[in-house]
């Protein structure tokens, strides 16, 4: 960080974004744009986070396209007997190629986590902002209902719902989204409470702007900072939850290739043929670390530039 700042101080034209974000005051002094984005990119950990996440995302999305060209097998073809060392990373419990299963098994996890997070964000935002904006009795009702939902452990709630409704993808996504929503609603509400007393909201009221438009055009853009942090954090949790559910046998069902499922199938031979477990574990670890770093970096970048200043 300091080396970056030093080098750009002597030659500010080369990489203005870094110089700015390294020190907001200095950036303001020199009159260049100093936005959340520039401040985000200036952090070393944010770049690391993006790199790690990108790595796993690329593997997950390009992997299926590489089959069977990269390994000679599709995800369900048998390569050898169980737990052998043949191929790059050996075979799994049924003698299928681990690398092929790994390359094919990331898409579902990523897709469902992103969907669950997005749905959770939408629900949480809606309830949180309405609660803050309307206030009074409705606020109490929404927030107390929220507290009830928060009291139920996330995984227990998911287990219950999936046991009743069956392990289908839409159930998985909806259940994870619903368990996220109350947490997001709390964040959205408290952020919105800081904004609704600003005069520009009063001005919008005065001009009789429709209330939905006040929510989404006046309030929402001013609470993006805390929400982006929350989104990053929830994505991390979604990945963890969906992987755990698959591991428990309540997510993806065999013979589908899935990282969570792979860990479960191959854990009995961890000492003999560790790659069947290690590959998906590493991928999930790198992915969650990456998204977490990004969430942290957003938090730091948006801390100084939200409510009240541009």
């Amino acid at each position: 960080m300091s080396t970056n700042a030093d080098s750009t101080r002597t030659d500010p034209v080369v990489e203005p974004a870094v110089a700015q974000a390294a020190d907001p005051e200095r950036a303001a002094g020199t009159g260049r744009r100093n936005t959340v984005v520039t401040r985000f990119w200036a952090q070393r950990q944010s770049r690391l986070g993006v790199a790690l996440t990108a790595l796993v995302v690329l593997v997950a999305f390009l992997g299926p396209l590489l089959l069977p060209w990269a390994t000679g097998y599709t995800q369900t073809e048998f390569a050898d007997r169980p737990f052998q060392g043949s191929g790059v990373f050996g075979t799994d419990d049924l003698g299928r190629d681990v690398l092929s299963r790994f390359l094919a098994g990331g898409v579902s996890l990523l897709l469902y986590s992103v969907l669950a997070t997005a749905l959770g964000m939408f629900l949480g935002l809606l309830f949180g902002m309405v609660s803050a904006y309307v206030g009074g009795a409705l606020d109490s009702v929404i927030m107390r209902a929220n507290d009830v939902l928060l009291a139920i452990p996330q995984l227990v709630f998911a287990l219950l719902a999936i046991t009743v409704l069956g392990p289908q993808p839409w159930v998985l996504v909806t259940v994870i989204a619903i368990t996220h929503a109350p947490r997001i609603a709390r964040v959205a509400r408290s952020a919105a409470l800081g904004v609704i007393n600003e005069d520009y909201i009063r001005a919008a009221e005065m001009y009789a702007m429709p209330r939905a438009r006040i929510l989404f055009r006046e309030i929402l853009p001013n609470i993006t900072g805390p929400l982006a942090v929350e989104a990053g954090l929830r994505l991390t949790y979604s990945i963890g939850s969906i992987a755990s559910l698959s591991f428990l046998g309540l997510g993806m069902q065999p013979p589908a290739a899935d990282w969570g499922l792979m860990i479960n199938e191959n854990r009995i031979a961890l000492a003999v043929q560790p790659w069947g477990v290690m590959l998906p574990v590493l991928a999930i670890a790198i992915l969650t670390i990456g998204t977490n770093l990004i969430a942290d970096a957003i938090a730091r970048a948006s801390a100084t530039a939200n409510i009240g200043d541009a």
Partner: protein, 643 residues
Amino acid sequence: MAHPHADTTVMSATGAPMVAGSIWHARRESGGNILEIEDLRIGSTAGREIIKGVSLSLRPAEILALVGESGSGKTTVGLTALGHLRRGLALTGGTVTLCPSNSTEPAEMTSLDDASLRRLRGARVSYIPQDPALSLNPSMRVGEQIREVLDIHRFGTSAEERAERVRSVLREVGLPDDDAYQSRWPHQLSGGQQQRIGIAMAFAMYPDVLVLDEPTTGLDVSTQALVLETIREMTVKNNAAGLYITHDLAVVAEIADRVAVMLSGELVEEGAAEEVLRAPRHTYTKTLIAAVPDLAGRNRISEFEARRRAAAGEEELSTGGFGIVEEGAEAETETGAEAGSAVAGTDSAGSVAAGPAAGASGTGSDSGGATTAAAGASATAEAATGAAEGDAPAEPVVQVRGLTLAYGRKTVLDGIDLDLRAGECTMLLGESGSGKTTLSRSLAGILDTWTGSVAYRGEELAPSTRRRTVDQRREIQYIFQSPFSSLNPRRTLGESISVPLEMSSGLSAAERRERVDTALDAVRLGRAFRDRRPGDLSGGERQRAAIARALVNMPTVLICDEITSALDVSVQASIIDLLSRLREERGLTMLFVTHNIALARHVSARVAVLNQGRIVDEGPTDAVLTSPTHAYTKELLANVPTL
């Protein structure tokens, strides 16, 4: 470590512990300075120069006012007297020397280590901050807070002595000294009392130098008068030297012996207060003084722009070019626009469109052009003021009858009757807590819990804007107090300004854009500001944008709620100049809400004085100011500081 004045302590006449034969005594005997700032240079860590060679000196029992507008660096200079630099700043040259009364050596504030600085701060040099509500610890009783200062600096020899000092300093600042008062919490005191606690803390250790950072800015005029008197008295009595940082020249006239004027980190003028205020030498000082509203109305700030240019023109002739750096861009746009309106003649709305056209020629105008513009503009102002005052009372556009508003059992507004007449500006005067913002928001329909009646051209208005008709909403516009909060930071000015249009008319996007541009030109910002965001703009520019938003719908009634109270005096003057001009051009009916009685003759034909939810005095400006009928109005008039 031995206590610095353990054995040689002598008591001065006032009871201050001092070291006999200290450097402070020596300097005082010889009439020398006890604080010397020499060629002070401070830069930001990025290398930008903030303070460019400032030299100041202070003698005992003298108050030096450091005057300048936001961003001029006056607080930065003031804080160096305490040996403090804000984060992101670095000393690049110069010295700050303090001669404390507890040592025989002068202290070099810029090179001392932290421990020595801590021993000096609060004891030999103390600080009175701007906002007492923020500087007092809310979870500590006020007596304890004063005592804490004494404990830290190990005042006297016993706990009794310290307790006695707390009582005596409370008496000195004019507060009760009993235990019941000392055990109050800060929130149980009024703003004036909180500030006096702050003063008591600063004076508790008998400091030699006092740095006062706009200590009366947040206070009402009567409280301000009291606090200023306390400060004056305390500095003289304790032989302390005061460095009074302020932007308010009227306060300077009340309190200071000498004045130093700062502009963009440089000292542009220094001298005896009377001399500087009466016969300023530097253009910037002249501009500042021209911007101060006076009660008598002689200093016509509604013609501020013309006078500023006249002053700048003079300077240009004599020195060959000097630009007012403060809000440079704004001034430039204005020069263009004003020159345009002068050319277009005095007849009204034409100048709105003339702005951009004249921009090119006006920006580079020589002094000749500027004076022509000045003459034209002042002629317009004269004519309009005459018309407004001379005519028989026009019919009321807005009629308020029996407006009452209560929060629970507390009545905020109690049966307000008020008429706003066509094309006339009415000033609503009141101190904080009088209900003036509540009243203006009730009229604008932002607050809807009031009872009573508000009629616009004979039609009853619904309490809330949402229930008013589109036309009613369009005709009555409200401008918020703080330009820092009234514009959405995430949206461009163009987007914000077009909101009223989107909500009230069927104009197409292109037509809306045209109206927004016209409004931006009318407030002398120029259409180039359409795509900028509030974060890039100064306070004055933001407030102009807020005015543009109110004007974009071509209203007939404009409610201005303390719109200049967050701004510097010269910006205030140019905003008032702008409003007066707009009122003439468009025949606006205005309600100008303020706490500053000195603005009365500059903006309004009528004055209504609001006190504790009631209108206690109402009538033509001259009548109210020369023969006030209510005791409250008299008190306000008596306390207003003047140049």
